[in-house]
């Protein structure tokens, strides 16, 4: 049998190319490298989608939500991963709500074992506010802009105005760490148009 030099060359090149791949190139350099940058820019965009984008376009980008809620005659919410609610006003993107669980856990848990939440991805605001940040650090970032909730548990809820939006911040209290601001950490955020919100002072 005569060997064909061209076929042999192609074979050798292929083997060489495969062998030269470093397995280390298959993984991200850091754990966050290829993760989506879930930045919420108040008054501008939510996770890269501009405020004012029609609901239909948002669904084209994200797929249909797993839940849809009518909040008021002109306000709706589309819920993804049971933890991200895109808010719409007059069918246009107007805000976002993030929480560990938005839909009743008993109901969802009885039918699904999918526990993925936004915790798996991470999110932040351009000013550095992000999940799990302490109230003490938020005070340093926002200063006097931060408003108190008049309710008894006033450290559990704070809000501030940013342009046309009001930003509500919700905190967990680690009782074993005392009652100062560092014992309160951010676990939930609601950003919505100012006029449709409980006004921040």
């Amino acid at each position: 049998m005569k060997s064909h030099p061209l076929l042999l060359l192609i074979f050798l090149c292929t083997i060489s190319a495969v062998c030269s791949q470093d397995i280390r190139d298959k993984v991200a350099k850091t754990r966050d490298e290829k993760k989506p940058k879930l930045v919420i820019v108040p008054n501008k965009s939510i996770f890269g989608i501009d405020l004012g984008t029609p609901e239909e376009e948002v669904f084209k980008k994200l797929g249909k939500p797993e839940a849809y809620v009518v909040l008021a005659p002109s306000a709706t919410a589309a819920i993804y991963k049971n933890s991200i609610a895109y808010l719409f006003k007059d069918d246009k993107l107007s805000g976002v709500y993030l929480n560990h669980s938005i839909i009743d856990g008993t109901l969802v848990g009885a039918f699904s074992t999918d526990q993925e939440t936004y915790r798996d991805i991470g999110w932040k605001l351009p000013n550095g506010i992000r999940e799990d940040i302490s109230l003490a650090k938020i005070r340093k970032i926002l200063g006097d802009k931060l408003e108190d909730d008049p309710a008894p548990y006033r450290k559990h809820h704070k809000s501030y105005l940013d342009g046309g939006q009001v930003i509500h911040l919700y905190f967990s209290h680690y009782v074993d760490q005392g009652d100062d601001d560092s014992a309160y950490t951010l676990y939930s955020i609601l950003i919505k148009p100012k006029e449709a919100s409980t006004p921040a002072k």
Partner: protein, 204 residues
Amino acid sequence: MNLKANDFLTIAMAILIGWSLSRFFSDKNDLLRDPPSPVTRTKPLIIPNESFFGVSMGTSEDEVLAKLGPPTGYITLNAQSNAAIYDNSKAFIFTKGKLSGIRIGFSLIESKLTGSYRNEDNYYANQDWALPNGITYGTSLERIRELIGKRLTSDRNGPYSRFHQKYQDGESTIHFYFGHRADAADDDDSSYTLSGFLLTTSLE
């Protein structure tokens, strides 16, 4: 007695003013009157294996929505099951497009989200339901044990088992969720009161 045109006019004006004043005070009295006392009535029933609030199990999703009106929320639970939410406290569960279960609880959609848009002032009224055996919102675990007996089980052991109990009734699995009075002993069944309810069927 001779009455002139002006006299008739005066009498007519007096009658008109008198009538207006009587209406005015009548309206005020309505405002001051005590609100009507709550009407004692039969609670809407959840009848396992049969119907929920008068809607038969197995009814098509389209028919249920036509009967109850558009829901305020709609959820895809898995490839076969969906839920339609009403009053943020009741979820009618559908499997393969047929009514198969029901969930009753507070704030089925997180209240920080829904509450910032509307005043859910019927928070407790939404817990108006009962099983045929009398179990309803607020019934103690002690009473439920009396009614259900040894059929009542839990997936958990220890003190936390009391927060969730369930039993089988035909095709239906009935889950009870309890709140606990903080000042009471962990093993005091009378201090656990029913706060949530879930009925699913084995068809799911």
